[in-house]
Amino acid sequence: MVQIKSPVGAPHARILGVGGYRPSRVVTNEEICQTIDSSDEWIRTRTGIEQRRWATPDETVGVMSVSAAGKALAAAGVEAEQIGCVVIATVTHLVQTPSLATDVAHQLGAVNAVAFDISAACAGFCTGLALAQDMIRGGSAEYVLVIGVERLSDMTDLHDRSTAFIFGDGAGAAVVGPSQTPGIGPVAWGADGSQYDAIGQTFSWDALKTQPGLGFPMLRMAGQQVFRWASYQMVPVARQAMQRAGVSADELDAFIPHQANNRITDAMLKALKLPAHVPVARDIAKTGNTSAASIPLAMERMLEEGEAPHGGVALLIGFGAGLVYAAQVVVLP
């Protein structure tokens, strides 16, 4: 009987470098209030958002991805040809097929990479990170580029008083590679399709075939339902990620939750009882909620500003439309 060989991977994986792209156009709360009845003060106290970045027409999801990935590759000291897989987490690549990842891999010169997109909304980056770790440990790729990118402004209803101020655009990328010591803890992840309708678009693309007058679909969200789920049900998930990694709350050097809303972060902090010395990502203040891009963007900012130490241990948790979630403890690059 013929025996086929099993792939052999690296003992462990880690994030080797991270990079971000923040679009050029700054959008203030005052500008948002031109189309909704609200105020700068109201938006700040309800969400923690002071401003967000919205992409110009030239700042496509592809352009932003390539820029962020270039920075991550340079930070990691890895060449594009060494990348074995490019995985892009996004919900705003507005082309059904082909994937964004193939184009980005091509633009980067990642000629040896397989490339595909994943749809895991705001949990996309952490989900991609878990896939990257498994590919590297499983021997399917030596280096994996994980990119989270969104142009949520394309699907933001400027007249929706409950969401117009929340969303932003941007890209964040991480190069994940082999390691002799553990750099990415076991993932705690899952999905709750019973809340499929909690976050989504106002109507499906195929509705446009029969009702072209509908216009363009926009994002909508059941705010209270999502707030309750994220603030309370994500806490056991975060605890599970720490338990599986064998890391306690007081050993963390940073907490980098998806930048959904500062109120969610605050509620999670209260329930998690994180010690006050653990720095918490608050990139949302300047960036808004950028879905799949928010965690790598926040990570980049915390490292750049010296808020979190290189080589430190960080808890990441992403959660969003689906509903889906993914959390893990990582060693910061």
């Binding site: 209270q224 707030f227 309370y232 509620a267």
Partner: protein, 80 residues
């Protein structure tokens, strides 16, 4: 079985902890939104704390019907 006074007192404590409102201001006829400055997310925090305190389930769909403190007290009394 808790009395109306006990539920009101417990709820007032919760609203104080969550939103920083004086317990004495939390009266049956007060509107959460208009009188106590509780926004929609604060309401979720109050509801979750109330669920725990009074061993009651308050579904998302029900939260929007709890306009006054009295509405919340009555719901808790009827369902706990």
């Amino acid at each position: 079985m808790a009395t109306q006074e006990e539920v009101l007192e417990g709820l007032a404590k919760i609203v104080n902890e969550v939103a920083g409102i004086d317990e004495g201001d939390v009266q049956l006829d007060k509107s959460f939104t208009n009188d106590l400055d509780c926004d929609s997310l604060t309401m979720v925090e109050v509801v979750v704390a109330a669920e725990e305190k009074f061993d009651v389930k308050i579904p998302d769909d029900e939260v929007k019907n709890l306009n006054t403190v009295g509405d919340a007290v009555n719901f808790i009394l009827a369902n706990s």
